[in-house]
Amino acid sequence: MILDMARARTTADAFNAIAEPHRREILTLLKGRERVVSDIADAMGMNQPAVSKHLRVLREVGLVYVHPEGKQRRYGLDARGLEPVHGWTGGFDEYWSESLERLNTYVKKRQREEER
């Protein structure tokens, strides 16, 4: 479909994968501990097939790993998959834009104090 071609696939990269709020919620749930699908589904109030679908997308872009343990499959956050996002948010431009934003706030505050 033309519409589908125009839009980037959710599995294209980490950016597209985390554009979906439920998938970000899953990543947050997986932070620091592995979980099984039913556990994630309970925590989110979603059904298991829907959660499995999101987990598949997250696995394809390398944000989540699966760790089979007996009959269970435990999912965990693979933080290395976030490195492109981490890098993107942490560049020179961002750093200095935020610093200068703080400078602006500070300069305005000092002027208000002087006026008093």
Binding site: I18, R24, E25, L27, T28, K31, G32, Y65, V66, H67, G76, L77, D78, A79, R80, L82, E83, V85, H86, G87, W88, T89, G90, G91, F92, D93, E94, Y95, W96, S97, E98, S99, L100, E101, R102, L103, N104, T105, Y106, V107, K108, R110, Q111
Partner: protein, 160 residues
């Protein structure tokens, strides 16, 4: 150098209007009590060990990220021309081979002061890296913030 000189492929530039007179804006760069209030991205704090605002003087400090990580910082002022220009060398220490040079330009505008920062790196590769991961900070989105923070604390994953 003016803010409008064309950028080379070893430079990065950022500019914004600060809503205040030039002498007040310039002053915010001259003392630790001011610098510590704004230097660094949102959520960052600084601890200063040495500070002497003069040409050849040094500012040695640690930047503390919101995720608890520390970044050693070393700055030496090369040129101070109040209230127009500050040129400094920036690195992790005096012997840091990846030191770079930064020029702050302060221009009067009717509605405030335009502050332009131009940083020049030793190589294009260093410039490109700084463009992508300067300081390694988090973005605005809170979820991404906490997740990105987690990246730095997690270097290995279990065997699959």
């Amino acid at each position: 150098m003016t803010p409008d000189t064309a950028l080379s492929d070893r430079e990065l530039m950022v500019s914004r209007l600060i809503e205040g007179p030039r002498d007040v804006v310039f002053e915010a760069f001259t003392e630790v009590q001011h610098l510590s209030r704004w230097w660094g991205p949102k959520g960052f704090t600084t601890t200063t060990r040495t500070f002497e605002f003069s040409e050849g003087g040094v500012w040695e400090f640690t930047m503390h990220g919101p995720d608890g990580s520390d970044y050693p910082e070393w700055i030496q002022w090369m040129e101070i021309r109040p209230p127009e220009v500050i040129v400094l060398r920036h690195g992790e220490g005096p012997d840091d081979p990846e030191q770079f040079s930064s020029t702050f330009i302060f221009e009067e505008r009717t509605d405030g002061t335009r502050v332009t920062l131009r940083s020049e790196f030793k190589t294009k590769a260093l410039r490109d890296r700084a463009a992508e991961e300067y300081g390694a900070i988090e973005g605005a989105n809170q979820t991404l913030d906490s997740l990105a923070t987690y990246v730095t604390g997690r270097s290995e994953r279990p065997n699959e």
